[in-house]
Symmetry: C2
Subunit: 362 residues, 2 copies
Amino acid sequence: MSEGSGLIRGLEGVVAAETQLCDLDGLNGRLAYRGYDIADLARKATFEEVTYLLLNGELPKAAQLDTLVVGLTAAREIPREMLQVFRLAPKGTDPMRVLQATVAMLGMSDPEATDNSHAANVRKSVRLTSQFAVAICAHQLSHAANFLYMLTGERPGPAAVKAFDASLTLYAEHELNASTFTTRVITSTLSDMHSAVAGGVGALKGTLHGGAGEAVMRTLMEIGEVANVDAFTERSLAAKRRFMGMGHRVYKAGDPRAAILRGMAEEACKQSGQFKWYEMAVKLHERIAKEKGLIPNVDFYSAPLFYSLGIPVDLFTPVIAAGRIAGWCANIIEQHDDNRLIRPRADYVGPKRREFVPRDKR
Amino acid sequence: MSEGSGLIRGLEGVVAAETQLCDLDGLNGRLAYRGYDIADLARKATFEEVTYLLLNGELPKAAQLDTLVVGLTAAREIPREMLQVFRLAPKGTDPMRVLQATVAMLGMSDPEATDNSHAANVRKSVRLTSQFAVAICAHQLSHAANFLYMLTGERPGPAAVKAFDASLTLYAEHELNASTFTTRVITSTLSDMHSAVAGGVGALKGTLHGGAGEAVMRTLMEIGEVANVDAFTERSLAAKRRFMGMGHRVYKAGDPRAAILRGMAEEACKQSGQFKWYEMAVKLHERIAKEKGLIPNVDFYSAPLFYSLGIPVDLFTPVIAAGRIAGWCANIIEQHDDNRLIRPRADYVGPKRREFVPRDKR
């Protein structure tokens, strides 16, 4: 725009929506879904209950939860076309790209794909939540505790299942993070849920967002041993290398999810007999905090946690997507229910108006 | 956020980026790419030249244009996997969904898919621009004038080719419209070009955005004859039906692209022997302008233009995407070159903090 006015880089602090989903209190480091503190939900609720809460506004009664579980189960059968996509993907393809293509393809076969009504959107949310878990595992099996079983091929103990379930809950919703904001911008054109979710997958993939967990784990693997953390930190500081999973635009007093995940990572690393990943993470965290004043965000301790649960590193981000799908869908529904096209302006800083030059005069 | 502060619905008037690409002067109804007026570019430049200008900052010299054309041609061969996607899509699938899945799949085979450097991004932009045209036609044929040939199966006359080429130019770039903003939000997480473009496709699909052209044409077809325009308008006003392709958040003095497209639509409808579509569009435009004070935007006269060029109605939005791809890529490059995570806030208006209720007490 030439009319002028100040650029707000990254839209920092700009309020772009009203929401009833997520109360993110950055000053006090608190987070609640629909009024319920995240620590309570992670500890006491299942991911299915959290999904119901986000989509419907209240925690489910037993019959309501049963209905949801039936819906999740019914959607476990992926159309044969999806399996073709998995087969078409070249070996070594980023699973997030497979997931994005899959969501677009799911939109082709979902019978309500273009129905943007509130009721249809809730039904599609349930189907997508289920299909995400299945799509990530690329097989037609079952859900929830089985999600982890599908991922790792080993039947997990109850502590591992609880840690995994709580992780999905902690990742389920986080206000206008970049991927959720993406789903809202897409929705605001009156496009449909599948189109919006495919966009969200693309955004989550970035290392400044969901991709950070994988980046943290690769860093820990590069460091290799607790004894190497100091040397690594100094080398990285000297090279001005960016530390992923540390720092957050909104949380200044600490990310409440990180504290919960840290406790679960400690326990899971102990259980798995590979405690060194937790020790390395703690030491790295403390060094970076001291040197750079950064504190861990949600993606820092999820790395050693996921790893010790047996999740392959390149599936960390898809697993996060399998949690965040609940929040994306709830945000898409909210946006459709009270829509206004999201269309900001840019400040034009390029060449002034100039005359067209014919090709032979250039 | 509970810290409070005012919601800006739709981010109206918020400046979310600096750009050197597009100077959108809403008050005076003017639009320029990199300083060149859109009317000059539509009349005097080819879409290839406009693509070069957007990606590189200057109009190409002859040798530079040759190199671009070689690059566009080289990318015409779509990997066999993509053709499989077309075959997998159920009959009647929205082509925009096919395009979104295709972009995600192209990201699997592009050798530089995860290289976010400026140089790699420019190369990927050229490939994507070419692949979009080919993907939309779902065949391995040629580009530009041939794009129209591929679409319609008939060899177009020079006037039709020029009108089509100018349409691509007029759609190539438009500052922070919702789809371009989507590509920037996704890019701001340090995700890659293919992921961002797939998101852009999802946003463009909506009827408040690129989907408006198709909606306008379906309205004209519903009206059927010039004599029915008055009755239709009155019925629609009484039913508070929304008119697509009319009105624009930024242009208050008129959309400069609409004026150019109107002239081309008049000519093309004359040539095609179906002048009634143009007459109906003009009459509908005048009635809505009078009753609602709305003026046509870019998507209004592109409807009768595209239709008289022989483009199937459900390919209108994909064709718009084949023009906008140039602007999306240029914006993605600009965002990567000077990135900051785009992450606004939401105003929390849901339930106050409350105690968790165990399942048996609900």
